[in-house]
């Protein structure tokens, strides 16, 4: 192939989106991990109604909420919930999606038809609607939320995995492995999976942002995680009645969600470029 055809595509700030996104996500993750040390107060117990609904000040950098709790500390602690919802539900989605997609793409046949049918079904029911139904059945809470979000948006990773497998399946090394006598499962996990991780990680990263937004949406609809422990979605949802009277109640959790999801989206984009075999950053 001539050189001209292999020329890398120019990408908008592929590198910077990786760093900016990674940075934002790193901030969110470190606040989640370091919450006990960087939070000023306990997010649940340090309520003092005498301090209720104070605007931001030196003492309460982000203000206080209706119960008089420090919003900054609640956001810091809330990172734990929001991020674990994002991460755990995406792990579920990825596990389901990858398992189904991998096997469907590899084995094909009736199993592929079944999985494709399921995937189309999942795509046809908007995941928010599906999650809503599951939340209604399980009741609000962290575990239900993780289940609801972890069971309902695997179709993307499934599709990606399947498409990747289909394109890899005819690759020489997969055929070589079969010819060498490798079993199907061994091929799937040692030959195929490591080579399709890149796009799956990207999907999972973007999906995490989606899950955090979905948590907020479900909280709004009254089916999120409700406290005592704070999550950004529930903080935002609780604060919405005070939008005209105490805007800082919704501004800060809103910004926390926005920047974290933005970070995840940027990170996903950056990873997409970074992990893309055609990308310049990895060539040569």
């Amino acid at each position: 192939m001539s050189l001209a055809l292999k020329l890398p595509r120019l990408r908008l700030k592929g590198g910077s989106s990786l760093w900016v996104g990674g940075g934002l996500v790193a901030i969110a993750i470190s606040s989640a991990i370091l919450a006990p040390w960087i939070a000023l107060t306990d997010p649940v117990l340090d309520a003092n109604l005498m301090n209720a609904e104070l605007p931001p000040s030196w003492e309460f950098p982000f203000g206080t909420d209706a119960q008089g709790r420090d919003i900054y500390s609640r956001i810091v602690w809330g990172a734990r919930v929001s991020l674990s919802v994002g991460i755990i539900s995406q792990i579920c989605n990825s596990l389901i999606g990858v398992t189904l997609g991998l096997t469907a793409g590899y084995w094909g046949g009736w199993w592929d038809d079944v999985v494709s049918g399921l995937t189309n079904l999942m795509l046809a029911i908007p995941s928010l609607v599906f999650a809503l139904a599951i939340m209604a059945i399980l009741g609000p809470g962290l575990v239900s939320l993780v289940i609801a979000l972890g069971l309902t948006s695997w179709s993307y990773s499934c599709r990606i995995a399947r498409a990747q497998v289909l394109s890899l399946k005819s690759q020489g090394y997969i055929q070589a492995a079969r010819i060498l006598g490798y079993g199907d499962l061994r091929i799937m996990f040692t030959q195929v999976l490591p080579n399709i991780l890149g796009p799956l990680i990207v999907i999972a990263t973007l999906g995490m942002g989606g899950a955090i937004l979905a948590e907020a949406a479900l909280s709004f609809l009254g089916l999120g995680i409700r406290p005592p422990f704070p999550s950004w979605g529930s903080m935002l949802s609780e604060a919405r009645d005070q939008i005209t009277t105490a805007p800082w109640l919704s501004v800060f959790p809103g910004l926390a969600i926005f920047f974290t999801v933005l970070g995840l989206n940027l990170l996903g984009d950056g990873l997409r470029d970074y992990l893309d075999p055609q990308s310049t950053t990895r060539r040569g």
């Binding site: 309520a47 109604l49 209706a66 008089g68 005592p228 919405r240 009645d241 005070q242 939008i243």
Partner: protein, 544 residues
């Protein structure tokens, strides 16, 4: 979801009866202040329906919901109504009534000037038809529980009779009704679920989408999930009324959206939650349009005495009451949109001991009591709650740290409002915060702590106290009302001491209205239930 204040707290009848007793303490806001002015004819009123994102049905027999009755008051009428000015029941569709000596037969002289929107005059047949329809056992209409008061109604419900034997048409405008108990039927027949509907319109089969009633406004349009629009009915039986040309009821379940819309002058009335209550009161303009009414529901945390060991000890329960700074919560979190509860019965009850003071905030005492009870390091319990803004999660969240300070760890368990009662009836809770009707019949109210009352009836705490039982038995025997109240007072005080609940507050309902709105009624049964024929808007109203 229901983040509103005033989430419907009870079924229609009980809710309304509650108001008999406390009507006196209804705070009448600015709404009546300019009542002296001459009502202006014309204009449009835009009311809000804040309790759900849609109406259940415009067929009043089908729906038991407070939300639907907002429209129902404009479209349909029942035999009685609640006179908000006099705070008593009054006849609505009848001009007079006579009662037989045994107090069981009522003879109504019906109005001969009441027209349905289709132009036909109402007769006794319509009342009989409506009550008979409600007793259709295959439909399970919620109003059936009221109509069952009439003799023979149950047979219709069971399908063994076609007609209610206790209802007799004497002539077109005279109706004889025989009831089974010596009670005032007014309490039973003033709600929307016993409204009088025209047979021919119901027979068309699409009544809910084209409701025709006796109300001051006739149905124009219903956009499901959005609004109902009604026009003035010129043949309404109260002369000169209604004043308004048009009435719109807009569905607005989101408090934040309602707030923005009210400030944006897109709606004329809005129910306020605590957050807005403070803001509106503080605002020089908005504060002029606030209508407040006290409610009589006791908000409390039901402690399930049969769940965990600590709860079986009175001292622990008292400790909980001492440990919580209820006044602080009411002032800071509920923003004074409530009155502090002392014991189970409300202050307006005759059996309320006015000398009694609520539990003071005393964490030291709480700690001491806990230590005495054998829990010096506290204990842990699960606290079931809904998301209700006034008696749900926000309160629990505020209480958790207070309890924590005395060593009690409360873990909230969030459920939907719709399943609260089911949980209570099953006893699937250790503690549950809710709002309970506590009037007007003090005996009936206190019977919820009678040991023989099953949990499914209302003994949600599983309270079992021999002394209390004895008092209640005595009260039931006592014919003299004053003496009975004395006994009940003792019972209520005993409850205070036993503290099977955390006594929290009684609610205050608040309606905000635009300055051009006049004639709003401080309806103690439900502040959003306005008799719209009395409302008028002055020329400053921006609505077309």
């Amino acid at each position: 979801m229901h983040s509103n204040e005033n989430v419907h707290e009870g079924d229609g009848l009980m809710r309304k009866l509650a108001w008999l007793a406390i009507a006196a303490i209804a705070v009448i806001g600015a709404g009546t202040a300019n009542a002296q002015q001459t009502p202006r004819k014309g204009g449009t009123l835009r009311m809000t329906a804040p309790y759900a994102a849609s109406f259940g049905s415009l067929d009043p027999h089908v729906t038991p919901r407070a939300q639907d009755d907002i429209v129902g008051k404009a479209l349909q009428r029942s035999l009685y109504n609640w006179d908000t000015a006099a705070n008593k029941l009054s006849l609505e569709l009848a001009k007079s009534v006579s009662v037989s000596a045994d107090g069981l037969t009522y003879t109504y002289k019906l109005r001969d000037d009441a027209f349905f929107h289709n132009g036909r005059k109402m007769t006794a047949d319509d009342v009989i038809f409506s009550f008979t329809r409600i007793m259709d056992g295959s439909k399970g209409y919620p109003g059936a529980r009221y109509v069952r008061l009439i003799k023979g109604a149950v047979d219709v419900e069971k399908g063994t009779a076609k007609e209610i034997s206790g209802l007799k048409k004497v002539d077109d405008y005279t109706l004889e009704m025989t009831i089974t108990d010596r009670v005032d039927p007014g309490y039973y027949f003033f709600g929307g679920s016993t409204a009088i509907l025209p047979k021919e319109e119901v027979a068309k089969g699409n009544y809910a989408s084209n409701p025709v009633g006796l109300g001051p406004f006739k149905f124009k349009e219903h956009i499901p999930g959005s609004r109902v629009v009604m026009d003035r009915f010129d043949k309404f039986y109260k002369t000169g009324q209604p004043y308004l040309d048009k009435l719109e009821v807009l569905i607005m379940a989101e408090a934040a959206a309602r707030d923005v819309a009210f400030r944006n002058k897109e709606i004329d009335t809005s129910i306020l939650g605590p957050a807005q209550y403070v803001a509106y009161r503080a605002d020089p303009q908005l504060s002029k349009g606030i209508l407040e009414v006290a409610e009589m529901f006791t908000r409390s945390m039901h402690i399930n005495l049969n769940s965990i060991k600590p709860f079986q000890d009175k001292r622990v329960r008292q400790a909980i009451n001492y440990a919580i700074d209820s006044n602080l919560i009411i002032s800071r979190l509920v923003k004074d949109k409530a009155y502090r509860a002392t014991s189970w019965l409300p202050p307006s009850s005759a059996a309320f001991d006015k000398t009694m003071k609520p539990y003071p905030y005393d964490p030291e005492k709480a700690k001491k009591l806990l230590a005495e009870a054998g829990f010096p390091n506290g204990f842990e319990f699960e606290w079931t709650t809904s998301q209700n803004e006034s008696w749900g999660l926000p309160i629990v969240e505020a209480v958790i740290p207070m309890l924590a300070r005395v060593g009690i760890k409360a873990k909230p368990k969030l459920v939907e409002v719709t399943v609260l009662t089911e949980i209570l009836m099953k006893g699937d809770h250790q503690a549950l915060i809710g709002s309970s009707l506590t009037g007007p019949d003090s005996l009936a109210t206190l019977r919820c702590y009678y040991s023989k009352t099953p949990r499914t009836a209302c003994n949600y705490t599983g309270f079992n106290n021999a002394e209390f039982d004895k008092l209640l038995d005595a009260a039931a025997q006592e014919g003299d009302m004053a003496k009975r109240d004395e006994i009940l007072k003792k019972a209520n005080n005993l409850l205070y001491d036993e503290a099977p609940v955390w006594f929290f507050n009684y609610n205050k309902a608040v309606l905000a209205f635009q300055p051009w709105v006049h004639g709003l009624q401080p309806n103690p049964t439900e502040i959003t239930h306005q008799y719209p024929e009395n409302i008028w808007v002055d020329a400053t109203s921006p609505a077309k």
